[in-house]
């Protein structure tokens, strides 16, 4: 840890650049940090303001410009508790459910495409074609699924249920999951599996006991992406839920119509939906980089 820090400091000091370049660099960095962070700060302070401070503002600094009050957070966990909890739970269940399914199915297909040679004779497709077909599904416009999904979900009684949302999100997440996992398995040596199989392990045992434990970083990357996608998804949640299974994004978007615009309450609700995901994302940031650059950057 100390060594690493020292090396970093050395690299900073060793790069001799003109003063104006350093100044410009820091100016840009500070400016962009402000652009990124100020909206979050504004959400946070707005959630603590009295309505009058929101409409007769703008008030920037708590205790100097305005007196922060916890009322809106109290409301969210008090009189609105049932609603907040239900929507939060819905988001959590559909996101976790689809994450688990996407990770399992994506890892299996990614492993298959990395280790076996497929040839779909009728289409003349080999592994690369199949992988391209799978990733191309990710880029189909979701609008094209609106009508068929409405009809299908009505027919099977999946509207406003967890399995319905989980299934839809899994479908959207699988392409990316397969893509990342295939890339990951390609970089994993086959020797370990082969020697295990010589010792009598089945393919499945080799996959479960040897390959999967080694691919934890890839699995984590897939899990984060699937989770964030499902957590933030709006269109299908709006379309496929009515009451019981409504998720946080739909709840937030609906504040517009049901209560008039109460910025202070919306801010609290928004932070409630956003902060857990951002904390998780920041803690696991290196996996995100790894997953996003899979296939895009070699090495």
């Amino acid at each position: 840890m100390a060594n690493k820090a020292k090396a970093k400091r050395r690299s900073w000091r060793s790069s001799r650049r003109p003063l104006w370049q350093s100044a410009l660099l820091y100016a840009i960095v500070v400016f962009w940090c402000f652009i990124v962070l100020f909206p979050f700060y504004w959400l946070g302070t707005t959630s603590l303001k009295r309505p009058i401070d929101v409409s007769r503002g703008p008030k920037y600094i708590p205790y100097r410009d305005f007196q922060p009050i916890p009322d809106h957070w109290d409301e969210m966990f008090g009189s609105q508790r049932e609603s907040t909890e239900r929507h939060f739970r819905n988001s959590l269940i559909s996101a976790i459910g689809s994450t688990i399914l996407s990770v399992i199915i994506g890892a299996m297909a990614g492993y298959g495409l990395s280790r076996f040679r497929y040839f779909w004779g009728r289409l003349g497709w080999d592994n690369d074609n199949i992988a391209f077909w799978i990733i191309s599904q990710r880029f189909l416009p979701p609008a094209i699924f609106i009508v068929p999904f409405l009809l299908l979900y009505n027919f099977f009684g999946l509207v406003d249920t967890y399995p319905g949302l989980i299934l839809a999100y899994t479908m959207f997440n699988i392409p990316f999951a397969v893509w990342i996992m295939r890339d990951f398995f390609d970089g994993l040596p086959v020797d370990l599996e082969e020697s295990a199989r010589v010792d009598g392990a089945t393919r499945w045992q080799a996959f479960m006991r040897i390959v999967l434990p080694l691919s934890a970083p890839g699995l984590v990357a897939v899990a984060i992406f699937s989770f964030i996608f499902a957590w933030n998804e709006y269109l299908f949640a709006l379309m496929l839920t009515n009451y019981q299974a409504i998720t946080m994004p739909v709840l937030i978007a609906g504040q517009n119509n049901t209560r008039g615009i109460e910025w202070w309450f919306i801010s609290a609700l928004t932070l409630m939906a956003v902060v857990p995901v951002i904390i998780m994302g920041l803690l696991l940031e290196r996996f995100i980089t790894r997953g996003l650059t899979a296939g895009a950057v070699k090495g």
Binding site: A143, I144, V147, G281
Partner: protein, 340 residues
Amino acid sequence: MPRDLNHPPVDTGGPRGVDRVVNEDRIMKRVFLSPAVVILLALSIFPLLWSLGISFTDMQRGGSTIARQAAAEGIESGVGFLGLGFELTGRNYERLLGDTRLHSTVRNTMIYVFFGVCIQYSIGLGLATVLNQPFRGRNIVRVIFLMPMMMTPVAAAYTGRMFFDSNPLRSPLAHFFRELSKALQLENNISIPWFTDLGWAPVAILIIDAWQWIPFMTLILLAGMQAIPEDIYEAARVDGANVAQIFARITLPILLPISLTVILIRGLEIFKIIDVIVVTTGGGPGSATESLTLYIFEQALSNGNYGYASAIAYVLLVLVIIFATLFLATGRRLGGLRTD
């Protein structure tokens, strides 16, 4: 089921162990791939073809209920084609041509994609260049830069609405503009009617989308820059190239394939834009900010015109395919876009 030509079902005559492994693999390779393929066939390819079928009908919400009632009451012919409650028709596609609201949504979507990609790529490239320099606190800064990407788009849109409110008593941005005009002693205060003006409303939406997705560009371009070996730069510096020359002649060309990839990915994503628009303008004023996805959603859910909504969805699909094909073709011509 896919046929397997690599492992034809012949007796290898080898030792038992090899036989076992070959036989097992022949089954297992299907076991591994099938779940993903089955889900995609059932939930992606099937709906895709089905909605093509629906686009050639006048299917409406509730049509099948009427048909079922007719059947229950014993009316022979039922309603519509095969008693399903709708008729086969090509009229949806005729209607596309004369639908001015559709034309403006197509134009808006193209504007979002084109300008969105341009803004996000150029700023993303700039920030990636900055983050590629060694400086103190770089790791923290990189993590901070990532934050918007993880925000729920609906939440980002609400936050944008707070900032693009044109009342300086509510919005810090409008307040800033007012103070700025005071400081510059301008005759008229700068006041931008973000969401109510035909020209500014799409700009506000572009800014919100850019704020959220510039990190994505930055992250990937930065990874691309870090993969460039240092000795190339050294050699250029030895030859006396300056910073601008190094950037234009070395960094940019090496980043070309990855640039094309991120632009393609972001472009395809912007084609899907709906949540930011729903929360900020709802498509207005008029239909100045309405995207194709939002229009399709309204046709399907608010109006219940399943047939027509499917036809418009196919317009969107064709646009997306044209965009992606052009892009992939250009990428191949310029060399080095990985499509595998």
